[in-house]
């Protein structure tokens, strides 16, 4: 019996007059990798930010395990440390080394001792293959390395679920692979992940479910096989065809 980690019910987000999405429902089960795809401006980033309480939905509820995190009086900081977030532009803390980036949450949020935090942070950096870059500043790392530090920083908090917002779309083609490799390994290790990406190779191979979002609606969701081989809607087929074409070319160029 799959156990839901993330349950989203009737979520609505409005910016000013602009309804980003309305009555959106989504469930993410423990250990699953859910890939969200859809044209830009559809509200994918906004959805992730709602889940992480970085922005407040106007209506609807979100549960993390059995806790309704959208309830009044929720300790947001407490919730956020259980939800890891990886950003499109990495957003590493520029004044801290790779190690410092991973340690900050451990010492300040989890209140670990310096020594304990260093040990844990080094462990996380090795998980993403960057133990030897621990003392490098973000400005001294390649984009791919920065993003892996970003992943290590989120992992260090031992989150229940990891959110990825187009983690490879700011990367040069030749650096995408190393980041996807780390994510693939994470999925295999049983991490629960919600990934917004247009890397169809990754989606096909790693996703348990693919969700196609358009104009604030979930058009269709299903297993990679269902989505790629017999989608119910023409829109899904068209979109998948378009991005496979587009990104497939980029991948070829990179080789």
């Amino acid at each position: 019996m799959p156990k839901p980690i993330l349950t989203i019910k009737n979520l609505t987000k409005i910016y000013g007059q602009n309804v980003i999405f309305q009555n959106l429902n989504l469930t993410v089960n423990e250990g699953d990798t859910v890939v969200i795809i859809g044209p830009s401006g559809t509200g994918k980033s906004t959805l992730l930010r709602c889940i992480n309480l970085l922005t407040r939905p106007n209506e609807g509820q979100i549960w993390l395990d059995d806790l309704e995190i959208t309830a009044k009086g929720t300790d947001e900081d407490q919730v956020r440390q259980h939800i890891g977030m990886v950003f499109q532009n990495f957003l590493l803390f520029n004044h801290l080394t790779a190690l410092g980036n991973v340690k900050l949450g451990l010492t300040k949020v989890k209140k670990m001792s310096e020594e304990e935090a260093t040990k844990k942070a080094m462990h996380e950096l090795s998980r993403v293959g960057l133990a030897d870059r621990a003392n490098h500043y973000p400005g001294q790392l390649s984009g791919g390395q920065q993003q892996r530090v970003g992943i290590a920083r989120a992992l260090a908090m031992d989150p229940r679920v990891m959110l990825f917002d187009e983690p490879t779309s700011a990367l040069d083609p030749e650096l995408i692979g190393e980041v996807l490799e780390v994510m693939r390994k994470l999925a295999l290790d049983g991490m629960t992940m919600v990934v917004v990406t247009h890397e169809m190779g990754f989606a096909r191979e790693v996703a348990d479910r693919i969700v196609f979002m358009e104009k604030g609606h979930i058009v269709e969701e299903g297993s990679p096989d269902e989505m790629f081989n017999h989608p119910k809607f023409d829109r899904t087929r068209e979109f998948l065809w378009k991005i496979t074409e587009l990104y497939g070319k980029k991948e070829k160029e990179a080789e």
Binding site: L91, L92, N94, H95, G105, K108, V109, Y137, M157
Partner: protein
């Protein structure tokens, strides 16, 4: 009176010039930083008040403000001209320093703050550990500029009778009738102070710069 006596008389005012600067600049930094934090993170009302503060203080000649603050302050408490003048200059400078710190905060804030909160840091922690350390580095060059201005503006307390460099230059110029030489001497001393300060802060900026590959 020979030239060395002449120069040393003027130069002895340096103690006051440096003293005024060392009070006004940190006082302005402290007030300016607090106000900038309120401006950026304190909500709409605070932002309005701070904006007004900044606009008013920067819209009036420093000397006029100096007189107003001096007479306002000394009416309430018994302060020496030196202290009243220094603190008044600090107030004037705080408006400029607030703008410097605010600019730095704004250019770091946003994404960096969001990333810090995503890790689980509270707003206060995020500002303290992520935004401020980066903002400080960004603020050094414009702050160096403001430091130079405060050193130069410290000559204004001469109007309150504080025997700093300019005041002494005027006195000895009058008594010796060698005005040009007196003011030239004052100019040289001011220049050296500003130059040394700017170099020092330049050095600090280099030292604090975050390593990166070109």
């Amino acid at each position: 009176m020979d030239f060395s006596q002449f120069l040393s008389y003027i130069a002895s005012g340096t103690v006051y010039t440096v003293g005024v600067t060392l009070i006004a600049l940190p006082a302005g930094l402290l007030i300016g930083t607090i106000l900038a934090l309120l401006y950026v993170y304190g909500g709409k009302v605070a932002a309005r008040v701070m904006n007004l503060y900044s606009t008013v203080f920067r819209g009036i000649p420093p000397l006029v403000l100096l007189f107003i603050l001096f007479f306002a302050v000394t009416r309430g408490v018994n302060l020496s001209a030196f202290w009243a003048g220094s603190l008044s200059l600090g107030m004037v400078s705080s408006a400029y320093q607030m703008e410097i710190v605010r600019g730095a905060l704004l250019s770091v804030s946003g994404d960096q703050l969001m990333a810090a909160r995503a890790v689980g840091l509270s707003r206060l922690q995020a500002i303290r550990y992520v935004v401020l350390p980066q903002a400080v580095r960004l603020a050094i060059p414009p702050w160096s500029n403001e430091a130079a201005i405060v050193i130069k503006d410290s000559s204004l307390v001469y109007a309150l009778g504080v025997p700093e460099i300019l005041r002494r230059a005027q006195l000895i110029g009058a008594s010796s009738q060698r005005y040009l030489l007196a003011y030239l001497s004052a100019a040289i001393i001011y220049f050296l102070l500003v130059y040394a300060t700017t170099r020092l802060l330049n050095h600090l900026e280099q030292k604090l710069s975050i390593p990166s590959n070109p």
